[in-house]
Amino acid sequence: MIARAEGFEPRTVLARITSPRMVGIVGIALGVIAFWLALPPVTVRSAPAPIALGILAVAAGIWAFARGERHVGGGAAVAGVVGIVGALVTMQSTTANLKDVFVWSALAAATLRYATPLTFAAIGGMFSERSGVVNIGLEGMMLMGAFFGAWGADKTGSWVGGLAFGIAAGGALALVHAVFSIHLRADQIVSGTAVNFLALGITGYIYNDVYGNNGTPNDLPAIPDVNIGFLDSIPPHALGNFLDGAFGSLNLMIWIALALLPVSYVVMFRTAVGLRIRSVGEHPRAADTVGISVYGTRYAAVTLSGMLAAMGGVFLSLGFVNSFTENMTAGRGFIALAALIFGGWRPFGAFAACVLFGFSSALAQRLPDLSTSESAAWPVLFQTLPYVLTLIAVAGIIGRSIPPAAVGRPYKKQ
């Protein structure tokens, strides 16, 4: 009762506003605003305002961090730095160019396009890692999906065939990883690295053998877009326009990826199957004792992860660029792994990271394309954002990501 009475005193209200947590949250907001100021429609063209806001954000972050709010405080400090850098980089571009680039609906659609392959692979990685098997091989499994998707679509004449081919190839490669890391108890990272080499070699070999210098045919059956007609009639007009531009004609695979999120969440955290996977990844000995097949569960999880990663690859070749080129995944499997860690081995967390990474890819891709200014090289640096953020995440500055307890440890039956 006394505590409640005290709550009304002005001093405690002040204490609540100046609590480390609140200060940290304000810091994050300041960092975001610092960046936002430089973007349309505000488009501030002078450096001092974003820098001042960014520094304030960093200061607030450090203050909160020092008082025990590691998540929020670290987040504010990072937001401040990213805000300053982002604003300064954006100012290198002309106002007209920025107006072209920051058509928010188109940017949202592009972000989703870039995020989708990452999402598939990250969700796949979640199944594998939650079951206790590190999957560095996601990159290779994606690449298998990308090539065999294109090849299968070419052979069968339909994208459904391509999807099936791609998923089968990704699953097969994952099975190799599974055999070596589960039964043969190889070092899972070495095995994953090997699988990446293999995928690069196998896809490159068959691609050159079948298609050679001509490349994949131009008339590869593409995965269709889903056109939603009624979106632009949603009032108010601006919102309808935005929704139509962002979601009106997304590829089918993007919707599948979005649908996969709640499905994988429910499977992993609300069903007996998910409980089994997680228990095998947290404490295999205990799981084995109560009669769960550790090897069986891990085999299933790793194979599933390969199939999901391959779906991301199929989207790349049949839904995104409609052709295959050697090593076209270009490290997306590793980014997906980063997103998984960044998102704390959870579907929605990983998706949020994928969207963030997709956004920076979309920005880096769009800014130089339309830019006419001298310093067109700057936007390339946006490409580093996902990796820097992941480094920060694994370093534990924005709260430590805690992996499944038994991840990376081969299990030996007794």
Partner: protein, 420 residues
Amino acid sequence: MTEASKPPPPASSPETIPSVAARLAFYQRAGGVITPLLTAVVAFFIAGLVILVTTHKNPLSTYRAIFDGTGLNWFFHVGSHSIGLPFSDSRVWFPWDTGSAAAMNLQQTLIVVTPLILTGLAVAFAFRCGLFNIGGNGQYTVGAVVAVQFGIWFAGLPGPLHVLLAMAAATVAGAMWAGIAGLLKATVGAHEVITTIMLNWIALWIASYLVGFGGPMQDPRQISAPVTRQIAESAKLKIFWGNALLQGLHIGIVIAIFALFVYWIVLNRTTLGYEVKAVGFNPEAARYGGISVARNYFLAMAISGAFAGLAGAIDILGWEFNLDLTEVQSVQIGFIGIAVALLGRNTAVGVFLSAILFGALLTGTSTRNLDPTIFKPELAGNLTRIIQGLVVLFVGADLIILYLWQARRKLPFARKADQR
């Protein structure tokens, strides 16, 4: 299982997983030099099947064509030739023709072997400390960028000094780049595999920015090409075999072999090497013995990065002389270094031999050296990747060796031999 009958070693609980270094030490005992040879043979055999199935040609003749392109056949053409003595104009008798086509191919192979030795050492040194350095690519890139910049600056310096300065700067840069991962591992326990992969991409994009269109290092005289300026003549490594205009062999190979000696001495004859290996075998035991695990993690990563950074510098100063965007974005040498280190069992001699194997494969399957009517170079290049993958895959699976080893022990004569 025979393991069930034996009592478990008291020091480790059944859940304890041996570190990578401990496993690799096990290979040495289990198979010595036989297992890496067997691994390579099996990998080449499977790759041979791939050739047979896809091209319907004799794998042996295909391998022969690749081999002829590597220049290693040079050693088999013994005759009566002469060689110039260093620092003089006199010539003496020599069994091999130093000016033949095979000699030129051999020079190309050795140019590729040089950075492979160094990136192999980069992976191997970290391995000995129980760390998996996947960041060779990034450390190589950082080294290459710094070497280009230092090669352009200080153009007035005398040759050897300029070369040493550029190499030292690149080595330090590589060490610092890997040191970030080492520091994160040592202080907050961030897994080095994740951090080095991230650092690879950060290095790639920063280098792409520096070298690319409008970047600060792009050659201002070639606005249309994403390429840096050439390094100064004084920064170029001396060519000691072959024609300088036809990319003769530079002294980088000597530096790489020297690095092999340094690697061996540091690991086997210094306190640092002892501590690094102790941490690699068992960090807990090392800590109990008074060794700072964190310090050794950092040092091992930094030294490992130094090797990779030096590799980047030698490629720039030895034959590339500048850096372009495509090169930056297609660096693979750090990854091949993983295969080199694993196949070489992280020993100096092993790294040397497997670097020659992979370097020869890369040269022998290049467009310039492989006859396309026998085997298309694009296919052969990818076959090399498959072989790398198989090698890494089999090396990683020590249980195969374990089964073989135990099967051997069950044989009566082997048991007798063990008892002696």
